[in-house]
Amino acid sequence: MRTVSAAETAPTTHPWVVHAEGLRVRAGRHLAVDGLDLALGTGVHGLLGPNGAGKTTLMRALATVIEPAGGALTLLGESVAGRADLRRVRRGLGYLPQQFGFYPRFTVREFVEYMAWLKEMPRPSVPGAVQRAIERVGLADRAGSRMKTLSGGMLRRAGIAQAIVNDPSVLLLDEPTVGLDPEQRLDFRELLRDLGVDSCVLVSTHLVEDVVAACSDVVMINAGRLVFQGTPDELIGQGGEGDAGDSPAERGYSALLRRHRAEAAR
């Protein structure tokens, strides 16, 4: 049993967990996110888009890792653009980068503990939270193994464990299903649904069927702009018989992309 603090039960005063208006973010010299408007609430949101659409750059900006070049970005009701103090917002963030670096000599437990410490979790709650996070991703039997001995899928799961260790309000997962086998992907979808109950989860992926199966909301971007935001059923509704793709959702995806490209070319 633990004491629930007043901060946890306080009503939120912000309408959206993640809110971007006219957001512009640079990747090097190139403007990878260019005038994006996005509003996300609680739930699991799937971020779709072709390669080079700006998904990873958007994720990095939302994780407060890189500074937006323009526009407004609000996380958990606090502005994170410019010289703002990011500490409070960052305590409520969980982030799994696409290129996920780690210290090879750390064991899984040490790695997740180190991340929990960096996220300024209260010291007494760290061991329990670490164990819970490792169990949720199904790595409990490898918790004492060094990171360099893990397979690709296990590393990905260790990365997910460090992202969820602080029970984040905003969870950003960039390509979390890479390297997972079909069974692990099913478990992962289950975990996503579970996490989406009380936090805002944004999952970037190339796998349209993952989005349809596990997400309550689909966000699609292309060339740094929002193309579509709606439920998986609405995405499926966008596609017709003549569109490319093997499933209704894939047809919806390719139809949306084709229409957006045609509009951009005009």
Partner: protein, 266 residues
């Protein structure tokens, strides 16, 4: 509330009487948490089937405790070690120590040379500091950059770890060669703080490279050719070094927000 609740309330609470209003249930519950005597009352009139259930659960829990995996061993010092000293630092610090050792040996062989330890002292911490805060040498950089601890405090923590190794070695080396301790340590500290301050503009790694190259070309090489120590390393220059430390440290503190983000040159 003072005193114990009415025993009939406790009995009705134990039976799960729906007629008992919520406020009474809460007050009884809060009291039971702290009062062993009333908890004992609770167990006297428990029905037999419930007692059997409780015994079964207790036996199950005991069995799980004895047959399940043992709790993970706590190694408190390992966490501290990981926080302060990233593995990447070890080779660089070893190199620094080896170079200073060579300087001491060379001084013993060639006493006519100007004090090599004093000439090396300012640049001794720079390789370690550059490695402690650069994107290329920290694999988990992107993860760390999104945590609340990231920023000047973490940079200073790692710098302190470097100095904790370099300063004793410098002290030993200056003692062996008879060089002034103050003139070894003050320039060492000054170059560290100037590196951090310049890191605000160009990134810590570039700042360290630039300062080391500048010191080597402008001061160390000419004084080796002339066979005499430069003015900045003569007795009486301590005040100048202290001023440099104060100004650069103050500047770094004022602009500490620049270290919060992952920008391309950090």
């Amino acid at each position: 509330m003072t005193g114990h609740p009415n025993p009939t309330w406790i009995t009705r609470y134990a039976d799960g009487d729906p007629a008992l209003d919520e406020a009474t249930v809460w007050s009884v519950e809060v009291h039971l948490e702290d009062c062993a005597d009333c908890r004992a009352l609770l167990t006297t009139d428990v029905p037999d089937d419930l007692r059997a259930l409780l015994e079964r659960v207790a036996a199950g829990v005991d069995e799980g405790v004895t047959t399940g995996p043992a709790p993970a061993r706590r190694r408190p010092w390992s966490a501290a070690r990981h926080r302060w000293l990233i593995w990447q630092l070890v080779p660089w610090l070893t190199m620094t120590i080896a170079v200073l050792g060579c300087a001491v040996l060379l001084q013993g062989l060639q006493p006519s040379l100007p004090s090599l330890v004093l000439l090396l002292a300012p640049v001794a911490p720079l390789p370690g500091v550059a490695v402690a805060w650069s994107r290329g040498s920290d694999p988990a950089w992107e993860l760390i950059a999104g945590t609340p601890t990231a920023g000047l405090p973490l940079l200073l923590r790692r710098t302190a770890a470097v100095l904790a190794v370099v300063i004793p070695v410098l002290g030993l080396a200056s003692d062996r060669t008879g060089a002034s301790l103050a003139l070894a340590l003050l320039p060492c500290l000054a170059f560290t703080t100037v590196t951090v301050a310049l890191g605000v503009f160009v990134g810590v790694r570039r700042a360290a490279l630039g300062l080391a190259a500048g010191w080597g070309l402008a001061v160390a090489v000419p004084s080796l050719i002339n066979l005499r120590l430069p003015g900045v390393l003569q007795a009486g220059s301590a005040g100048l070094w202290l001023l440099v430390i104060a100004v650069s440290a103050g500047f770094a503190l004022i602009r500490s927000d620049r270290f919060r983000r992952l920008s391309s040159h950090h």
